[in-house]
């Protein structure tokens, strides 16, 4: 996106305005988000960077329709999704959002291919599971169960599972958090490839600032709000990163 020039600003895919989130735990109110505004544009890769407890996961959960903000609203294209309506949220997650988690969250009783099929069976614009797995470099491991795959492989299955339904947005929560750097880079390459080849709008949460170098934009998070923005004029390729 960075090289598409200022003349052609892409459409806004997902927008959050004035988002706050307060958790009431016992007698203490925890302000996880204190008024966050942000927009994700068509096809861009945004990294949300911040220490743990800074509220970035809360933001991702709200953007992904897993949680509702205490105030403010989230708009996906023209649709408001912050409504407290379970079935709208489910619909949104099912049709438009792909999730990748720190601990992969694969279904242990299903093979790689079946884990992907799990999603393609319920989505309406999905690709072939084998194709999705090939995209993340796992064409040879289709019929392996999670217990037979390495951590990096499991995370790539999770990415394949997230992108197989051709989501509009891919949300990744610490996707390399449980992996060594070498494996982590393999996973980031997969994310990068999906973003570039399929044009999927992607948000990656991490506390690893190095990963910010592969983004179009980096949002620095602290104390429940966006402390500053950083527009990368040049995106580094995932394989160029090291930590």
């Amino acid at each position: 996106m960075s090289d598409s020039g200022p003349s052609a600003i892409p459409e806004i895919t997902l927008q959050g305005q004035g988002l706050t989130k307060v958790y009431h735990t016992g007698s203490v109110d925890v302000h996880a988000l204190r008024g966050v505004d942000l927009e994700l544009r068509e096809g861009e890769l945004v990294v949300l960077l911040g220490p743990s407890g800074s509220g970035k996961s809360t933001l991702l959960n709200i953007l992904g329709g897993l949680d509702s903000p205490s105030s403010g609203e989230v708009t996906f294209r023209d649709m408001r999704i912050s409504a407290d309506d379970e079935s709208t949220l489910t619909r949104y997650r099912r049709d438009h959002v792909g999730f990748v988690f720190q601990f992969y969250n694969l279904i242990p009783s299903l093979t790689a291919r079946e884990n992907v099929s799990l999603v393609t069976e319920i989505a309406n614009r999905s690709m072939d599971p084998a194709e999705a797995l090939a995209l993340v470099g796992l064409a040879e491991r289709l019929d392996h169960f999670p217990a037979q795959l390495s951590g990096g492989e499991q995370q790539r299955v999770a990415i394949a599972r997230a992108i197989a339904k051709r989501p509009d947005i891919l949300l990744c929560d610490e996707p390399t958090g449980a992996l060594d750097s070498q494996t982590g880079i393999l996973v980031l390459e997969a994310i990068e490839r999906v973003n570039q080849e399929m044009g999927t709008t992607t948000a990656v949460i991490t506390h690893n600032s190095v990963i910010g170098e592969m983004a179009d934009r980096v949002l620095h998070f602290a104390d429940g709000h966006v402390a500053n923005y950083q527009q990368n004029s040049l995106r580094k390729a995932a394989h160029e990163l090291s930590w």
Partner: protein, 787 residues
Amino acid sequence: MRALNLKLIRNLWKLKGQVLAIAVVIASGVAVLVMSLSSLQALQQTATAYYERQRFADVFATVKRAPRRLVNQISTLPGVRSVEDRIKQMATLSIDGFEEPVIGQLVSIPEQGEPLLNNLVLRSGRLVSLDHPDEVVLNEPFAEAHDLQPGDQLKALMNGHQRSLTVVGIALSPEFIYTMGPGALMPDDKRFGVMWMGREALAAAYDLEGAFNEVSLGLLHDSSPEQIIVKLDRLLETYGSHGAIARKNQISNWFLMNEIEQLKTMSTILPTIFLAVAAFLGNMVMSRLIATDRSEIGLMKAFGYSNWQVAWHYTKMVMAMCGVGIVLGWLLGAWLGRVNTEIYADLFRFPLLIFRPDPGVFAIGAAVSLIAALAGSLGAVRHAATLPPAEAMSPPAPPMYRSSRFYQSRFGLWLDQPTRIILRQIMRSPWRSLLTSIGIALSVSVMVMALQWIDAIEQIIEVQFHQTQRQDMTVGLVESQSDQTLREIRRLPGVLAAEPMRSKSADLKAGHLSHRGGIEGVTDNPQLQRIYDARGEVVSIPPEGLILSTRLAEKLDVQIGDSVWVEVLEGKQPKALIPVVSLFETYMGMPAYMHIHAFNRLMGERASLEAINLLVDKNQLTQLYRSLKSLPKVSAVTLKDAAVEEFNDTMAEMLMVYISFFAAFACALGFGVVYNSTRIALSERGRELATLRVLGFHSGEISYILLGEAALLILVGLPLGCLMGHGLGWLMTNAMNTELFRIPLVIKAATDATAVLVTLGATAFSAAVVRRRLDHLDLIAVLKTRE
């Protein structure tokens, strides 16, 4: 409080749903045990107290007529404490507003003072007085059936004379707890009643002045009734004795003891089932709990807790869960025991009720269930104790699944992923799955076993009343009568057909085995009272030889071709060795039949009869009843419809209570098993299910994965349960096989279906409870943490 104990209490609170589900099952087991044992004890103690207080006799003998001076001689027999000679006669009664003939059993009591034996419990009014020979005291159930009170009148045909009798009192007697009319199978208080009358008045009415026809003996504590009976029989031989019987063979007591015996069977088989299930549930919950608690176990050990302390911690947990169940079971059992005892006491009309459950009963209940629960969780606790701390603290390796060719097959490829998850989950832990199915099956089987009683009773009624007894009524005669009586009866208004029957009490002996009962003589091709085999085939009556019921043949250990030594106890008291020519299976009693001609030859009598079976025109019943009531030779009239109704009523009352108990327990079982297995599956797989929700699955779709697995296991459990229910039914019918009754093993498809539906209802309820939790799954929390 020590930190570990605090953790224990908090853990239990967190698991309260599951603790309750296990507790309910344990409580059911303890409750059935406490209920059965306490009501068993209460009935035994009450009966004993009742018998002792009213001086219920130990030996009874009937004679035709014996002089009263013989009483002195009898009382000198060694071992005899007291003797009471009485007059017992049958009379036909007429009660205003009740058309059918009623049979009255008249029993003498002294006009002055109390009887030495078989004393009455006066419920209202007074006993008879010396100068009023028409006063009677009625047995309470009979009085209540006809709403008779002191001051009321009734008519009786006594020894050919119509008498008008005045009721002066209502009483109960230990001798007539069960009052059975001649030839009846169940008490029928409307058509048969006991009445006590002054000794002198009764002697005058039946020409028995200075004589008696029945004698009761009270024995010293250490004397054996059998030896005294031998001597007594010898003494009474010449007075037309029918042979003395011990208390254990006295009809009322025999029924009572049979009931108590059945209760005993119930108190062993059923609690065993419940406690076995409780043990299994304990194992299931504990092993999974320990699996989810493994990091805490590692931590405890890392802090320096010993294996023994860890084991003790989890043992306490089992004991606490069990404790809740035991206390619930105690309360429930004591209450049910009381209710059950009251139902029986009411049925038997005990004038007193001793319900003091022995603390031992509660201790047994607690000990048995504690042992079962501890045995069930032994493996899990041991596993917790021996888990190496380092291994315990690291997360468990991802579960291993294996591929199977099945999923590549055409059918396999057709399966969607959620269904694959279900199937793989079941195949990965086949034992756990099987145990869940067995738990469900046990619930179904308990229900089948309870419900099969209804089918069995229907079968008994069908065979005993509809196939065998085609007569409308049976007329019992005073002593043996000649053919002439048969002809007279045939001429009565409304009689369509009449068949003679003979019946005499007799001892049947084979080797050292003997049975005191009777022999019935029937015509060679009876149309009204056929002898049916339990298989539904008519048994033909050969001209010679004995036809024995299989239960009697078993008791005497004889087969077709063997001979039985018969000692008839009435008439000329003939003795003869008679071959067994045929056997047949029957549900009630232990009858023996002979051809009526052979019977007459055995008795050395011309064509005689003691009873007549009648087929009647229902439009002429009023005239027929009137004629029968005026016939002095008639001692009893038994109506088949009334007998069936009475049988049904008595059985229905007992069965409804019994079946409701077990329906409740079966539901508790089904609920406990399904709730525990799905609830644990939910806590183990919450993360997986939350992931699916995040991926866009609706809560209905993830419910399918969790509850679909349960449904599949239930589906396996249901037919298995029917199968086990048939086995259990077989076990129970065998255990309840008494000399009085054989319960046939009949289980209709509808019974299986009802049991299945009840269990489905209970399991659906627990599934609904778990489903509610699925709707409130915390998606964010499960995603963040590593399992």
